[in-house]
Amino acid sequence: MATATVQYSRARSTYAALRLSVLQFLADPQWLVPSMIAPVVFALVSFELFRGAGPYFLTYAILGAGMMSMWGQTLYGSGWATGMDREFGTLEPTIQAPTPYLYVVVGRVLWNVISGLIGGGIVYVVIVIVAGGPPAVPNPVGFALLFVFVMVTLASVGVIFAAFYVYTRYAGFIQNIGEFAFYIGTGCMFPVVLLPFVTNPVSLAFPPTWGLDALRYLSIPGYQGFGWGFWGDLAGAVATTVVYLSVAGLVFQRVERHVLEEGNLSEY
């Protein structure tokens, strides 16, 4: 066996992590519950609650329910997978591989975005069947494109969240405490403008807050969100997402340095 020096590729490593996520998903049917079944249940409950509230309010309710589920899937799924790496003891060999761990996380986040979109698609189909027709959306193409982008905003936060799972084994515990605060704080459940004004700066630090508000502007005529309107929301979503993705590399570098200093990669 001649020794060889190989050169990793970031894109290939990301694809490998995505593929591994798919394989693990297929190997364990329990993941159907949070990623595919829960969004449908949330959406059906919302549908029943707001059945008589008018076509756009129905869209609003379904959007909130669906986004809440997909938010969980996209944002927490990636961190959780890193937590599982700790538990399985696969974090050490993965960190020891030449590929920076960030690209593994990006691959997982991509899978979570895809599964979130599949979940969203299933919600849509179920609602169409139950309601006897598609929910009223003034600009379906724009809505679909923005929906995908909102998933990207979620993914950008998911990448940073995953770093905390590398940083400490207690990340899951902290995340569980903060989960519903994040749902509310980013406007998944209802518009952020309804929250006390002092909380707005914190909410606006998260890209999904901007993206979700933009999505509501686009899908609900007469919606009153942030004063800067749809384009302001969109610009804010793009800017904050770019910031999150730009700092992700640095965050992972720092986190990796920290765990190598602490020597806690095998703790779970």
């Binding site: 066996m1 001649a2 020794t3 060889a4 020096t5 190989v6 050169q7 990793y8 590729s9 290939r12 490593s13 694809y15 490998a16 992590a17 593929r19 591994l20 394989l23 693990q24 190997a27 364990d28 399985f88 003891g89 696969t90 050490e92 060999p93 993965t94 960190i95 020891q96 591989a97 030449p98 590929t99 593994v104 340095r257 190598l260 200093e261 020597g263 990669l265 095998s266």
Partner: protein, 328 residues
Amino acid sequence: MPNDSSAIETHGITRDFDSRKGFLFREVTHTEALKGIDLTVERGAIFGLLGPNGAGKTTLTKILSTLLLPTQGQAFVLGHDVVRDADWLRPRMGLVLGGERGLYTRISARENLRYFADLYGIPRTDRERRIDEVLARVDLEEAADRRVEEYSRGMKQKLHLARGILHRPQILFLDEPTIGLDPKSARETRKLVRSLVADGVTIFLTTHYMFEAEELCPKLAVLSKGRIVAQDTVANLRHLVGGDRTLDVEAYGFDDRELDSLRHLPGVSRFLTEEFGPVSRVTLRMRTDELRVDQVHAALPNHPELMVRERRTSMEDVYLDLVEEEAR
């Protein structure tokens, strides 16, 4: 600067850990896991690191394999600093930590290897052939497409090994590679290790098993309580603890005069006493052939039950002597 012929060189490596207990009232325990490790390993050889549990073997292995930063000191692997040049080193080194963990158990061995092959950038055109090759090498071909959760402990250990050599590393770190394996699998693993060395791979191996160290490692170090207590060839280590020949002398108790006469027999370089219930054992280590068994019998005429057994000094003797000496 590291020596070009060295695969590993460390200078004064220390590693401290702080472990914390409690939620409101944090209790911090400080541990010095490594206390100034100086080590040199030649390229293309097997180097063994022996030591009891908690001696610091895994800590040192993790530092050398870039998974842990030293608190102080410098370590070079293949001539590169393990802290500064980790990115250069990682594709060139393999690490086998072993055990039940460290594998994706819900997928097959082949898929585990595909994933790591991609992370290591093994050329796509070569990937499947390389996976088949390592699976054959560890004798897992038939089970390659079974989920790892169905594997026995030994099969998982083999898969760890397969992953460790998949990218053809120049240096391989094996942390207790045969622990928990049945004798046949352990023997196959040792055979594999020897074949890797024949291929030019440098092996850094930690083990509890003295016979394994003796069988595989021309040079080894004994680590005890975070310090290297000896580092040399097996023959020189034997010499260090008193010689190649050992006589075990057993009887129902010896008085001081008898012990003194044994101690002063010709050629005795090391003298150890142990008690096993009513039985006392004196171990005599010798560098020369001048002392014969009948001389021991002659020195202890009042013990008809006396048993004297001559044997070659084992690595276990060497290890126990060195570790116990360090403990004292």
